[in-house]
Symmetry: D3
Subunit: 242 residues, 6 copies
């Protein structure tokens, strides 16, 4: 039996989907497959809460149209639509943000989170707190570069990361800056502490839950949605029933 | 100068919009107006996280298309898209859920939250906690009736509410069951403690912020969204700039 | 029917009472009145916990002697006697400190609190935490001036406030420095983020609760006080009963 | 050198002062003295927040008029005026409420708090939380008797206490019902778990701080109060300076 | 390259080691190996804090004597010696307790923990809280059977578990009762919600970290121990250096 | 009747035991005795979690072999084996770490903790938080000297301490650097704020509990350990029964 992971990219940039799917596939064991799915509409990258709100609805739509996979990975660092996706399936659903925080907390007593824009700091601080890890995080640190200067990101991460280690006692770094995740392993060498992105560990976590015989509970909060009529778009009510 | 409040109903049921707008208008002072807006697509009522995820995107769309109002009220108890709406305007934006929790915490040391379905309890508990009010809430209590038995709701609220007062020490009740909000004042008499719904106090809070000269900060988290290209739908990037 | 707000100044400086009452009256809607009440004994300004302890008893005394107003505003930033006042009436009672924190949290994801003396920082930090807003506050910052240098306060607020925005990510400022509150609107222009004092929004909040039909719960913590005999001063036990 | 403990009773009932002073004296080591002080005005017992607000000011007044003692014990379970008293002296100041919570947390992983009136439950829950002990407390439980039925209190404590042990996993009981404290030792035998009142351990804690060479810090929050003019009553500003 | 997982059983019962190693091996992918290690001295099962304190030292000893494995699993639900083990290696180290809590929080919004003895409840509550998951846990529930009645454990788990689902809103169960873990999958069918033990998911988590290129950070808290001289037993100082 | 305090040093350095016992004896009242006990095996000083894990087991062993004392003091700042020791006796058991935190919180609104090595910061932060005092602590600050430079420690403490007062608002200092504790009183003069070590106040706290008639609860978490068979070492099961 082949395990098939639905990698759900809530932005509309196909290259992001592909690079993340390749990373997931490179770590999953033999006999597994990655079904890479990209949002049909919405932002090319997700930077604001507005983008996030659109992305959440797209994640739900992707699970509705692909209900038969063995596990799902929400592949955007702020985990949009994660709870909604869980309602639509009895398979495990994992977010790359929550996976990265958890991996960091398993290999380090204290970690720092690195992101691109300062405006995103409060939302990331709140996310860390909502996972119960506020006391483990020594800071959410924005890179001092604009998005346009993208190619300089790796240098900036190394610089900001080293300062986080030296001045704040960070013992690991979490990269909350999406597409740069694929460079985590290389950066780890340079900074000298574990550098965590969520795609590899998140894909493995989804597989590990499945492999342990665990799926999303259908009792309570993540039960299939009530069959509410929808206007102007397909409803979700039947999804899980068939 | 007339104050105009945008009342944003994220579900697609026009009667809900109208009854909530009437309630808001009945408490706002002279010389104010309520612009009642209904989601163009999505669920008729919001029960699940799936519904919530769609609703959040619709709230953002409503603010984008009505950017010139003096304040906004997100008129659904789980406050979908509240943070997104704040990014799109410099006017105050208030949710009815957060308003109801705040009103209850101003008139009572301990309150209970009453909702329809048991599946919604964890999300409401999390919402109360995210507002820093976990220690003020003695319980989130589902009514023991199905949605279809709607007409019996008032009786059930009185019964569940009285038990919350007697057995858990609730000193006020928060109604997290949307359309029943309009009956709060009548129920108050029967239960004997303050019964809070969020529409009236929320509309007044939005007006009070405006009246105090306060609007949504454009520094940091609620700054106008970055101008990200969107595929398959209008983007949001320019909204606040013009 | 005229709404009458009891504005309770727990210090003994009449000018403070008058300027705060004028500010409240300037924002309340037509047909409302402000009854301005000043403590009969105690400190001219409230700086220490000692001053605060005296002020709390004076607030209770003011409500006892003016039991028939429609709502009350405790007009001192550290909200002395707020809980006691709530016991003595079924009308809403609001503090300017709690109002300022709540207003800031509605217009900004992160705020800073500005106060005069460094010694007051722990008590303000504790107050923010007791309202469940610790994660929303990036710092309580004392002005680097003595009380005697009062006239330089506005400059100092602008300077400390700008640094809080630039270095700590404050998106709004809360002024916990009493009489300077009246200058909040002017400072807002200079600093470029919302500047919140509690008198205007607090008065509006008290009115909004009343307007929503909500009053202090008499079940539980805020029930009328037990009729305990007092020695050497009038008792409180009958206040609410008559 | 004789150690002199100021036992400060913030209610006006002399017998309470005397029985608490006797208890304190019975446990303090040789060569120590207890100076028993009773509030000059205010309630005969402290039941409500109104009573508490008056009591806080009286505690401050007692320290002002007796500034030369070696340590102070605020002898009322809700620790009124504790922070104010600390400002007025460099000697250690301890409350019986905080002492009782601390003692219980040293001899048991989980404790219950027993009080007389249900209305007092929220304030006690908040007090436990403010000491960082919320997770250690399995419940604040009111006795099912009125104050007038005082003589039945011991039986009620045993009955409520045994249920707390059997049903909630309480491993110790904290008596937050003032004058009954003196019976703690007898009740301990009957209930079979440690029964803690705060007077004995609180007096010993005050002495222990003094004996360890520790006094209230005069840097920061507990510095002597600013010399603010007072109207209608003596000021506090000079107390600590002379 | 073969991945070798050190499964560390801190009690001295060989059968426990073997059954847990078999479970781990049954879920790990091809080409991996489990090195099953049993404490050389100490309790046959771990029930009390005394047992736990001995077990912690034994875990450290097992890592010292087997320093070359690719990852380690501390195979006792209260994760004794986990932090110590992390200091002794740059490989990932995972505990079965933390793994079980994390798995439950990925498949359910609310979970209950089931354990054998009531005396263990506080320590498990504290463990859940220390992982930041207190708000996710609806209760730690002891089975109403003694250890000797071991064979009736499965029935008791089903009975206690069903009540936790029906009465407390548990959406998943965590089995904190060691050797019964191997029956989790069977129980899941009967109770109808996910039933989580930590060995399978813990072994997979350890492998997943390794597979993602992540190991224990040697900066900060988990750096190799200082080379302190030991009396009466081998020291640990050199372990990581060679 | 003579009170006998068991001072339990979990490291193997006899001079540490002796100097701590002398300090304890110097503050305890007439007619008390200190029984000084040193770990039979393990590290000469405790710096890492590995050392801590060994120390915990040694503390349990010391109580097992000396079960008849009136109270116990765990005399190592990270309180190893504290919970285990409590299981083994009905006498009070106190740790010097928890005692120091509590003393500081009684004499100051905010305190800083000073330790030797940066690696120990996370564990101390976690300890402060586990005692519910995170909001009271302005920082855990490592000295910028190596252990070998021991003689310079006093200077470094004064320097780090003064900065903590001036820059972080520390109002008291807690010395979490073991043997330097004996110099606390001298340092207090130099730094100008209370300097707390845990041995003196901890010994007095243990005595105060005993003097108040309070001992470790044997209901629940700290009940005598279950009689589990041990391999390779003496068991603990009978200790408390005889």
């Amino acid at each position: 039996m082949t395990f098939r992971l639905g990698l759900l990219n809530p932005n509309t940039t196909l290259e992001h989907t592909e690079s993340m799917a390749a990373l997931a596939l490179s770590v999953l064991p033999e006999g597994t497959d990655v079904v890479a799915l990209t949002a049909e509409r919405g932002p090319e990258t997700i930077e604001s809460e507005v983008d996030h709100s659109v992305a959440g609805a797209e994640i739900a739509a992707l699970v509705r149209t692909h209900p038969d996979l063995d596990a799902y990975l929400v592949a955007c660092f702020d985990d949009p639509g994660l709870e909604a996706a869980r309602e639509l399936t009895a398979a495990p659903v994992v977010g790359i943000g929550e996976s990265a925080y958890r991996a960091a907390s398993l290999v380090a007593a204290r970690f720092a989170v690195i992101t691109t824009l300062a405006r995103g700091v409060p939302a990331l601080e709140d996310a860390v707190a909502s996972h119960g890890l506020a006391s483990r995080c020594v800071g959410v640190l924005p890179l001092a570069i604009s998005v346009a200067e993208h190619e300089r990101a790796a240098d900036a991460i190394v610089s900001v990361g080293r300062r986080a280690v030296a001045e704040r006692g960070a013992e690991a770094l979490v990269l909350a800056c999406g597409p740069m995740g694929t460079t985590a392993r290389a950066l780890q060498e340079e900074v000298g502490v574990p550098v965590v992105e969520g795609v590899a560990f998140g894909a493995l976590t989804a597989w590990s839950l499945w492999r342990s015989g665990l799926g999303t509970s259908k009792a309570g909060a993540y039960g299939y949605p009530e069959p509410i009529p929808y206007a102007g778009m397909p409803d979700f009510g039947r999804t899980g029933v068939a």
